[in-house]
Symmetry: C2
Subunit: 108 residues, 2 copies
């Protein structure tokens, strides 16, 4: 589907971080890290109302973090910036990789 987007510079770091600044939206990214989901999956995952989740999704989409695609009656979302999910995974596992945290999460 993809509605007309704001013409702001896609992927800009400030916008991405702002979009990720809410735990529900990080949860959404975690879900999408495993593969695309329809909105119904994400509503269940975050445990908030449909309208609320829908707005969280639009925030992430406007920031260029995720993409939506309408197929039939459903809308499927997927990650547009795979490095985001990798970054999250790294932050979630600091104790498992103490030296990687110091050296930059293993990202060369």
């Amino acid at each position: 589907m993809s509605k007309p987007r704001k013409p702001k510079p896609a992927y800009q770091a400030d916008a991405v971080f702002k979009a990720l600044g809410h735990p529900a939206r990080v949860t959404i990214i975690r879900e999408l890290s495993a593969g695309e989901c329809c909105v119904c999956d994400l509503v269940e995952a975050v445990g908030l109302g449909w309208s609320t989740v829908s707005r969280h999704l639009s925030v992430l989409r406007d920031a260029g973090v995720i993409l939506d695609e309408k197929r039939g009656v459903q809308v499927f979302y997927r990650l547009q910036l795979p490095c985001v999910s990798r970054f999250i995974a790294c932050l979630d596992q600091p104790s498992a990789f103490p030296d990687l945290m110091t050296e930059g999460c293993g990202c060369k």
Copy 2:
């Protein structure tokens, strides 16, 4: 210096993203990416008042993104999570690395 921190799990992704969810704080991280700074440097960089910058710094510190160290009269801050600055740099340069964005910012 390092005051008593909240005992929450350091580096947790939600907290990190929340801390980075304000442009002034991203600016701070950008500055610190080049090396440690005293508060005075950061106040100039973000263009806000001392008290405001000080609070932004405490948010970042509480999230485990930066570290403070008092030396003499001044307090110096530096990055605690180098991968954050790398991630920002990657997000800032999407057009320069279109395929890396798709493949994960070159982070293996």
